[in-house]
């Protein structure tokens, strides 16, 4: 289907469901049922089995019509990670149960993967899931969970068999965050905010029907999820989108702060940011119909480095004002904007860009091994039973 018939389909839908008079949730559910939620999803799952590029056209038409959206910024994990994994590995029942309320935003999702002892080495998770009849009983501690306080469900990685080697003893679950064994505590960051949480699981009971994929297949399922996170190359921004735009505007507004040194550093970073934008555009062209590959890791490396250098530069440029900060009060933001707030926040928050979603060190390993074909790291832990690995 090309753009024109899809456009007609949206128009027909809008004719039947007038955004100005239809209840928001009713509108969104109908949009899902009509296959106009995410057109690259299958028919019956909110989509029409079309190419993913067509989605932006659909979004544009709904925005133009003044239609309500599903507030995608509030359900990033759900839309970006849980949904594609459920679509790929879920049973029919799971897809029926979870995908529609996920897309409409009725049910927010979070991610229970990382642990204090399982960061870069995610396969080292020690949260334990024991089978008990038709249920699984889960205990352990998770960390770096954004939006846990608002989430109804979580995607969860837990160890079901400590006698297996680390990658083989894991299973993937869909966890109900309202279970009484789930305790969410805000995790404060260097910015002063608590954008993430720690989640303590104590004998949380998960029905067998909420296991995603086979027992012992958790690592494979989790990797499908993570590929969706790491390789997300974004939608492509205009020139001076993101951090460079903010800093360039500061430069233009404050000529009294200019020095020759900062001028050259800014221009270097302007060039790098623009080249990075073009690299993203080129990668999107390459991947137009294919699968995202490890090349996306290189993009993320550049993104983090440039954002960090720019935000550091901005404080030097601001000089006296760079010594100030807006507010250290502990808040739990619903929505994170790396370039929001003041320059001090931007500087501190950018430090996370090279840690979250795969540290820059891990990404360099990925590029070296999967793109350049260099040998993997020496691994002592691959074939040992997990419980025998030195922790």
């Amino acid at each position: 289907m090309s753009t024109a018939p899809l456009q007609r389909k949206v128009e027909e839908f809008l004719a039947v469901h007038d955004p100005s008079t239809t209840d928001r949730l009713e509108f969104l559910r109908a949009r899902y049922d009509e296959g106009l939620a995410w057109v690259h999803y299958p028919v019956g799952r909110g989509g029409l089995g079309l190419a993913q590029e067509l989605q932006s056209e659909v979004e544009r038409l709904f925005v133009e019509a003044g239609a309500p959206d599903n507030k995608p910024g509030h359900n990033v994990i759900g839309l970006g990670m849980a949904a594609p994994t459920i679509l790929e590995f879920g049973t029919e029942e799971q897809k029926n149960r979870f995908l529609r309320p996920l897309w409409t935003g009725e049910e927010i999702w979070c991610q229970l993967f990382s642990e204090p002892g399982a960061g870069s080495d995610l396969a080292n998770v020690s949260t334990r899931a024991r089978r008990d009849g038709d249920e699984w009983v889960v205990s352990g501690q998770k960390v770096w969970t954004s939006g846990a306080q608002n989430a109804r469900f979580a995607i969860l990685l837990a160890r079901t068999d400590p006698d297996e080697p680390k990658h083989l003893g894991l299973t993937y679950f869909l966890c109900d965050m309202t279970d009484p064994g789930v305790e969410v505590r805000p995790l404060r960051q260097i910015t002063g905010e608590a954008e993430f949480n720690e989640v303590f699981l104590t004998d949380v009971r998960i029905p067998g029907s909420q296991r995603l994929g086979e027992v012992g297949q958790g690592w494979k399922v989790a990797n499908a999820t993570l590929n969706n996170e790491r390789i997300s190359i974004g939608k492509g921004a205009d020139r001076e989108g993101g951090m460079i735009g903010v800093v360039a505007q500061t430069w233009r507004r404050r000529p009294e702060l200019h020095t020759p040194e900062l001028h050259d550093r800014l221009l270097r970073l302007w060039v790098e940011a623009e080249v990075s934008r073009l690299t993203g555009a080129r990668l999107r062209q390459k991947l137009a119909h294919g699968q995202p590959g490890p090349e996306g890791s290189a993009m993320k490396l550049s993104f983090a480095r440039i954002a960090q250098e720019l935000s550091g530069l901005e404080l030097e440029l601001l000089g006296e004002q760079g010594l100030h900060y807006s507010d250290w009060t502990l808040v739990r933001p619903d929505h994170v904007d790396f370039t929001g707030r003041d320059a001090g926040y931007r500087y501190l928050r950018a430090k996370g860009n090279s840690i979250e979603g795969g540290t820059s060190e891990i990404l360099r390993n990925i590029v070296a091994e999967r793109v350049l074909g260099l040998p993997g790291e020496h691994r002592v832990d691959k074939d040992l039973p997990w419980k025998e690995i030195a922790k």
Binding site: P116, G119, D121, E320, L323, E361, R364, V380, A390
Partner: protein
């Protein structure tokens, strides 16, 4: 030039030990972190205990009630204060304000030496030694003007205010001190407003004293930055020696080893630059100004890099409020801007060593 001692004398090492012991007792990093939430209960007791071992008067001559020590010893104290991001007015009062008063016969110097009073020089903390000084007007015997972002003002009971007609000591009760929310709350800044305040003239010629004070501050802040950098390096090395991922300690991964080797190389170089700045300052060496700017140009960036590497190499834990790495990152970034950015010091050096634009 004859070669200056760039190491530590035995006396300096003894001084370091006492300061380190005291800070280990009195300056827990958790308590430092609580300053960000407004709990400054640590500060007074910590400062008092530093005063008790005579640090407030380190740079004051013995005949004026001080220890008669030199910039070398003050630098060692600052290394230790930098290692704990200690929230005390040593640099602002005992180094910068004190240096400004060394040529004055004011009794205030004696009072600073004994810790009876604490002073701050009223300049923005970002001011380089050669920066334009803030304009405070003298009308009759009344001072009027605003000086923004003053370091040490919150802890001070007297401010040193430069005017075209001299340096004045102004009691804080005579001015408005408005604390600011700062990137580095362990050295919280304040805007100071003088609205017809009276002060005591302590020096007729303010500018040379202020510039000398800022230069001493720049030379010695390098040692604070050195101490901070060493903490970051040592803490990161220690963490990577025990933190395991993939069944191996992280410190065994060569990419991390090489980064730490490079950081070590930087820190050792920083030690030489900081010691040189302290030694030339102590000797009144003609190279002292050049040495101060070299030290600032080098250590400001080194400390930021050390703190950034500490956060990164600690991984997620380094991004948390709970881990102290962020205290050092904020101090390092703030110090980078303080007393002139590295870029500003390089421009100054260019003029001093005949490498002009």
């Amino acid at each position: 030039m004859s070669e200056l001692d760039l190491l530590y004398t035995e006396i300096e090492e003894d001084l370091r030990s006492s300061v380190r012991d005291l800070l280990a007792d009195r300056c827990e990093l958790d308590a430092v972190t609580r300053i960000y939430d407004g709990d400054r209960s640590l500060v007074d007791g910590l400062w008092k205990s530093l005063v008790d071992i005579g640090l407030a008067g380190l740079l004051v001559p013995e005949d004026r009630g001080g220890q008669g020590a030199s910039a070398r010893e003050a630098a060692v104290v600052l290394e230790e204060l930098g290692r704990t991001a200690a929230p005390v007015p040593f640099l602002t009062s005992s180094v910068i304000a004190t240096t400004a008063l060394l040529d004055s016969d004011t009794a205030l110097l004696e009072q600073l030496a004994t810790g009876e009073r604490v002073a701050a020089l009223a300049v923005p903390w970002s001011a380089a030694p050669d920066a334009q000084l803030p304009a405070v007007r003298l009308e009759g015997d009344r001072l009027t003007g605003t000086v923004t972002s003053v370091a040490g003002a919150i802890e001070a009971d007297v401010l040193l205010v430069a005017t075209g007609s001299g340096l004045y000591a102004v009691d804080v009760s005579a001015v408005t001190v408005k604390p600011l929310v700062c990137l580095d709350m362990t050295r919280q800044l304040a805007d100071v407003t003088l609205d017809g305040a009276t002060g005591a003239l302590v020096l007729v010629d303010a500018e040379p004293a202020v510039r000398r004070a800022l230069d001493a501050g720049a030379a010695l802040m390098a040692s604070e930055q050195l101490g901070l950098s060493r903490w970051c390096l040592e803490t990161t090395v220690a963490y990577l020696q025990v933190r395991k991922q993939f069944g191996r300690v992280l410190g065994g991964f060569q990419a991390l080893k090489h980064r730490l080797a490079d950081l070590y190389t930087g820190v050792e170089s920083g030690a030489a630059a900081a010691r040189h700045a302290a030694a030339t300052s102590a000797e009144g060496d003609p190279d002292a100004t050049v040495a101060a700017s070299i030290a600032q140009a080098y250590l400001s960036d080194l400390a930021v890099r050390a703190a950034e590497e500490a956060v990164q190499l600690h991984g997620g834990i380094g991004m948390t409020w709970e881990h102290p790495a962020h205290l050092y990152l904020k101090r390092a970034k703030s110090d980078q801007i303080a007393l002139g950015t590295p870029g500003r010091h390089r421009v100054r050096l260019g003029a001093l060593v005949d490498l002009r634009p």
